[in-house]
């Protein structure tokens, strides 16, 4: 082919004399490797926000105290009853259960499976998720049946002057 290029005019024995395919496969391979490297880059960059939020969770938010919030009056919740409330945000629905005269427990009641609201079954003494029959232990919030695998986040409560207040949200155990 190189001899042809030097002869003007050269023999037009075919019409593809100016198509050079010698390096085509090499370029392909190189492009493929570039794509792989690029994919690694995309993976690396997309890991950044996950790492950042994880680090934030680990250090900052750890044990944040929210402004105390009144849930209900002592009089209006009998032993074995439950009330729904929202804590710490307006949309973080939660449930307070009175287990005995003294003992109150509260959890964020979005099921740790797919976030259906968990309710308190007084007869069974269990917290039940209606969506896929997940059950939670009322003492600890840990899952005891069904699809949920993580405990419900516990909310610390405080009884003060005839009313129940929500104080803070406990971290999940890791």
């Amino acid at each position: 082919m190189t001899e042809n290029n030097n002869k003007i005019p050269f023999n037009e024995d075919n019409y593809t004399h100016n198509i050079n395919r010698n390096n085509e496969r090499k370029l392909d391979r190189r492009g493929f490797m570039k794509t792989l490297v690029g994919a690694a880059g995309v993976f690396a960059i997309s890991s950044l926000p996950w790492g950042a939020t994880a680090a934030k969770e680990l250090m900052g938010l750890g044990d944040k105290e929210y402004p105390h919030k009144k849930i209900t009056d002592l009089k209006s919740i009998g032993v074995g009853d439950a009330v729904d409330f929202a804590f710490p945000g307006e949309h973080d629905s939660a449930i307070l259960i009175r287990l005995s005269d003294e003992k109150f427990v509260a959890y964020q009641n979005a099921c740790t499976h797919l976030r259906c609201p968990v309710f308190w079954d007084k007869k069974e003494e269990e917290m039940i998720c209606p969506c896929h029959h997940g059950k939670f232990d009322v003492q600890t919030g840990s899952p005891i049946a069904g699809p949920p695998r993580r405990p419900l986040p516990e909310i610390q409560v405080k009884v003060d002057k005839g009313a129940v207040y929500a104080v803070r949200v406990k971290r999940y155990e890791t």
Partner: protein
């Protein structure tokens, strides 16, 4: 294995590891194991320079092979 395919194989392995680490990272995040999340995220980030290194090395090897021909 032919020598010129080793780099490609390594890069494919890196991509595979990327996928595994990403999957692990996301899962550990939702399981609230944040330290594990950070570790696998860091592995993902470290794999990128490794991939660049493999690519560069391969490019050099290719050039070397050509000049020997």
């Amino acid at each position: 294995m032919k020598r010129e395919y080793i780099s490609v194989a390594i890069l494919c392995a890196i991509l595979m590891l990327n996928i595994i680490f990403t999957q692990y990272m996301v899962h550990q995040y939702f399981y609230e194991h944040y330290a594990n999340t950070i570790i696998s995220g860091a592995m993902n980030i470290l794999l990128f320079p490794a991939a660049i290194f493999v690519y560069k090395r391969d490019q050099k090897m290719q050039k070397g092979m050509k000049s020997h021909e």
